[in-house]
Structures are given as C-alpha cells and as structure tokens.
C-alpha cells in the first residue's frame, strides 16, 4: 500500500516537472520572449536592461533552474502590467473564480442528480429520452453561445438580469448557469449510468422482495451506493471548470482567473500567464492524487493490486 502511494507521488512529481517545462517553454516558443513584451519604441539600451533584469542573458538551463526554484517557493516573479508579484495577483482573482466554480457545480448537481435518478428509474420512457436529449445538448452547445443566448434573452429582451460584472446574486446567475450547463449534462449521464448499475444488483432486488417501499429503495438503498462516482467526478470537474471560466468570465466580465489569463495574454504579461497555468495544473494534479489515494483506502481491490 505504501508502495502504491509512493509510486503515485513519484508520478505526480514527474508530471509537475513536465508541466513546469511546458509552462517555461510557452513564452519562449517564438524564440526571444522579449519580442513579446517590449513596446516598439524601446531602444537597444532598454532591451539590454530588460534582458538583464529578467535574467534572459543567462543560459537556458540557468533560467529554467531559476524559474523552478522560484516556483517551488511560490515566487513567479513580478507582473509586468500590475508591477506586483504574480502570485499576489493570482490569489486576488482566484476567490472570484472559486465562487463562480462552486456555484456552477452546485447548480449542475442540483439539476444533474435528480434528472439522472429519474432517467434511470424510468428507463426507456419519455422521461429518460428527455434526460438523454438534455445530456446530449449539454455536450454539444459551446459555452460561449449559451452565455450569449442567456444575455440576449434575459438581459436584452426581458431586462431581468445585468449583463456583466460582479455584485449581488443576480450577477452570479447567468455566469453560473453558462459554466454549469455542460457539467449538468455530464452529471445527468453519470448519475443515470451509476444508478442503472446499482439498480441491477442483488441487494436492490432483495430490498424490493422484502417489500421496502420503492421510494426508499431508490433513495436510501440505490442512490447512497451510486453517489460515490458522482461526487468524485464533481470534485475533479471543479478543477476542469477552470477551463470553462476562461470563456465564461470573458463574456460576463467576471473578475476571475480565466479573464485574468486572457487579459494578461493580450497585454503580453507572460509572468502572470505562466503563474496561472502552472497553479491551475498543479491544483489538477494534486486533486487527482488525493482522489486516487482516497479511493485506495475505500476500495480494497485497488489496495491489493
């Protein structure tokens, strides 16, 4: 068991090193990162000064070593646009993204779980078909279109909700729905298949034979056993949501990490971009690791493999 944990830890570390290399290379793809940062009117002297200040005159492995040792201490350098440490900028925006992410996830679970259960219980009826169509649509609609259509309906035509910015709950509704829509569909599909698996098992048949009321069979016996994969998926998706925030936050001018990245890319603030991509990937790798280890404790089949 310890061997398994060690092996997973080792894999995660390798993965993080890989990510750090990719993140480090990103701004160097074009050759000289300075060409991306310097304004056209900069003189030769400005170039040399900037090069020395960022350490770009040193060999590439020295630069990488500086980057990775800095990253390990949580130091990603200064933002060019904000003239403050990048990590500070990141943590300032991150709570807003978390708020949006949690709301979206909550919304998707509130829709996905009841829909999934209904679909599984009434399999192959119109309810199930409706659930399937919903799941399929959710995975085919691009996030940005959902956002724009919501604005068109609820802000432009009905004038119920504000189009952008952050404030009260009414500002949160449309972004959360835009972001959560895809995951509501995924949760519906997942809950449905998990419930179908459980409903087919012997102990459910036994419970029914004993005369347990159907309502209690479904909610107490079946659902409690089907919920584990659904919750795991939700936890992992919370990190995947970071991808969706790029577009959602841009559409609704939501001051989160996704919009920060887009703004940083357009203002050529590469230290901030590197910070965001690196921290987001690290969160994902860590979440994966934690879920794997938790699963090992819960599931003896993995433990003794």
């Amino acid at each position: 068991m310890q061997r398994y944990i060690l092996k997973r830890l080792f894999q995660a570390v390798i993965c993080l090193i890989g990510i750090s290399i990719i993140v480090f290379m990103l701004s160097r793809l074009s050759g000289d990162p300075l060409t991306l940062m310097m304004p056209p009117e900069a003189t030769k002297k400005d170039w040399d000064l900037m090069r020395a200040e960022l350490g770009l005159d040193k060999p590439i492995y020295v630069q990488y070593w500086k980057f990775i040792t800095g990253a390990a201490r949580g130091d990603f350098g200064e933002s060019i646009r904000w003239e403050r440490p990048c990590v500070e900028v990141f943590w300032e925006y991150f709570p807003n993204t978390l708020l949006l992410g949690f709301s979206a996830m909550l919304l998707s679970l509130m829709i996905g779980i009841p829909f999934g259960i209904l679909s599984a219980v009434k399999v192959d009826t119109w309810v199930d078909n409706f659930g399937k169509i919903f799941a399929l649509l959710g995975q085919s609609l691009p996030v940005f279109w959902v956002g724009i259509m919501l604005i068109l309906i609820f802000s432009v035509n009905l004038r119920w909700l504000p189009t952008s910015g952050m404030g009260g709950w009414e500002n949160l509704l449309m972004p959360a729905w835009t972001l959560g829509w895809y995951f509501a569909a995924a949760q519906t599909r997942l809950t449905r298949s998990a419930m179908l698996d459980v409903l087919d098992s012997e102990y459910i048949k036994l419970a029914r034979m004993k005369g347990v009321p159907e309502r209690s069979v479904i909610l107490k016996h079946a659902f409690k056993n089907a919920i584990l994969p659904v919750i795991t998926m939700a936890a992992l998706n919370l990190i995947v949501l970071l991808n969706g925030t790029v577009i959602t936050e841009t559409i609704f001018a939501w001051p989160g990490v996704g919009r920060l990245v887009v703004q940083a890319i357009f203002s050529r603030d590469y230290p901030v971009v590197q910070t965001c991509v690196f921290i987001a990937s690290t969160l994902f790798v860590t979440a994966n690791l934690v879920v794997d280890i938790l699963y090992m404790y819960l599931d003896s089949r993995i433990r003794y493999q």
Binding site: I19, P142, V143, I148, R189, I265, S281
Partner: protein, 289 residues
C-alpha cells in the same frame, strides 16, 4: 444461448426493421451538408463572404431580397459567411483529428505493446499534457505563434493527441494478453508486424469512435479560440469569430449571434450523435462517460 444474446445486443430494440432505419439520419444529413458546403461553398453562396457592402449593413433576416439570413455590420451576407465558416471548421477539425489521432495511436501502441521504459516515458508525458488547462495553453500558444489557421491546427494537435494515447493504450494492454497475440509471438512474427497486422486492426474501432467525438470537441475549440480573438484572423469567416463580432451588436442585431451558434451546435451535435451511434455499433464494450 450466448449467440442469441450477442445478436440482441447488436441490434437494439426498434432499429431492426430495415437498413434505412439503422442509419443515424440526423448526423448523416447535417454532416453531409457541412462537408458538401465546405467543399462547394464558394461556388454556391449568393455573395462574397469577405466583401463588405456598407449600404446593406444590418439587414434583418427573412426579408425579401438576397440576404436570407441577414447581413452584419459591414453589410456582409451572413449565410455566405456561415458557409465559408463551415470550410474553416472542417479544415481545422479534420486535420487536427487526423494528425492528433495518428500521433496518439502510434504512441499508444508503442507504450502499450513495448511496455517498460517506453510505456513509462510516454504515459508520463501523456499525463502531463492531460493535466494542462488546455484552453489557457492553446490561447498562449496561438498568441505567441501568431493567430492563423495553420497555427491553430498545430496548437490543437499538440494539445489533442494525449486523449487518444490514454484511451488506446488501455485497449492495447488488454489485447496484449489475448491468445491470438501470444500465438503470433510464438509463431515468430516480428514486433512491428504484430503491431501493424494484429493490434492496429483491433483498436481501429475505438479510434474511429474517439475521432468522431473529438471532431465535435475540436470544432468547439477552434470556435472558442476565434471567439477570444486568438483564432482565425479577420476578415476570414469563422463561426467563433462571427459570434465574437456579433456580440457587440447584440442589442439590435440578434441574428448575428444566433446563426453561427446554431451552425456550431448542429455540427457538434451531429458529431456526438454519430460518435454514440458508432460506439454502440462498433464496440458495445467501449463505454466512456
């Protein structure tokens, strides 16, 4: 007994009447239309998708005249631009799916079949790529390389191959233990021959299903990049770019946002439906959530 069960699985429920009812009509019609328009587009559209005509700007759709879906702020015909966008979506989607699929398949077969160091190295690289927030990385890469159709394809391939590698490697691993592979090894077939003649034909079904589903995802990815201004450069017609431009006029020209979005949705829906259908037809065992 076992045979009867298989037959039942193969032809689910109501679909057993004739070969006509077994075709996924929605997907076939939509995808054929997109492909045909993508190829023949420039010859059949009523207007030049790039040429502006300021006298006719913001013509609403369904009016008598030559603009069935209306015009945008520059007076360009929305229908012609959507047809032009179909070509770009197809070029990007098909190329990315083909190249990323080929790359992922080769790496998956090497990792799964050779095992050992090959497997460790390839799978760690795959894990790394799968952990990246792909949209952020794609945005940065196109920003650095410069937005163009070629660069979008490069970026989406660089990010897209890992998904294939992960799924197909698992398939190859399962197959490696199969009797017919052991038999081939015993018979003295070379490793490459086994890979190409025995393993590849058995993962091709999974590959086709994955590629079909990925086509939809890729089309959305291209549209997302273009929407954020890091994709197909204007004035070229791209569905994502059209949406981004239409967004500025949403208060009085709803059609600029509705039509390109519908085009994306229908195409991606067709891909997803076809993928699901193929999954059931080609490989009932392959279930991915």
């Amino acid at each position: 007994m076992a045979e009867a069960a298989t037959v039942k699985l193969d032809v689910p429920g109501r679909r057993r009447h004739s070969w006509l009812s077994r075709i996924p009509w929605f997907s076939t019609v939509i995808l054929s239309a997109v492909i045909l328009l993508g190829i023949a587009g420039p010859f059949v559209v009523p207007h030049d998708p790039i040429e502006s005509n300021l006298m006719d700007s913001f013509t609403p759709p369904f009016q008598a005249g030559t603009y069935p879906l209306g015009t945008d702020n520059m007076g360009r015909d929305v229908l012609s631009r959507i047809v032009g966008g179909a070509r770009i979506s197809l070029i990007v989607g098909m190329t990315v799916v083909f190249v990323a699929g080929a790359l992922g398949t080769v790496l998956a077969m090497m990792a799964g079949f050779f095992g050992g160091w090959w497997d460790s190295v390839i799978m760690r690289v795959t894990d790394t790529f799968l952990s990246l927030p792909y949209l952020m990385v794609a945005l940065v890469m196109t920003a650095v390389l410069g937005p163009s159709v070629r660069n979008i394809i490069v970026v989406l391939v660089v990010i897209g191959w890992a998904g294939y590698a992960r799924v197909l490697r698992a398939e190859v691993l399962k197959m490696k233990e199969a009797d017919f592979i052991r038999l081939a090894i015993t018979a003295g077939a070379s490793r490459w021959k086994i890979l190409i003649k025995h393993i590849f034909p058995n993962v091709v079904n999974t590959l086709v299903v994955l590629a079909t589903l990925q086509l939809g995802t890729t089309i959305i990815a291209e549209a997302s990049l273009s929407f954020l201004g890091m994709g197909v450069p204007p004035p070229h017609p791209s569905w994502g770019l059209m949406l981004a431009q239409g967004r500025d006029y949403i208060t009085y020209a709803w059609w600029l946002c509705v039509w390109p979005g519908l085009a994306i949705m229908l195409t991606v829906l067709a891909c997803n439906l076809l993928g699901d259908w193929l999954r059931v037809r080609l490989d009932p065992k392959f279930r991915q959530l």
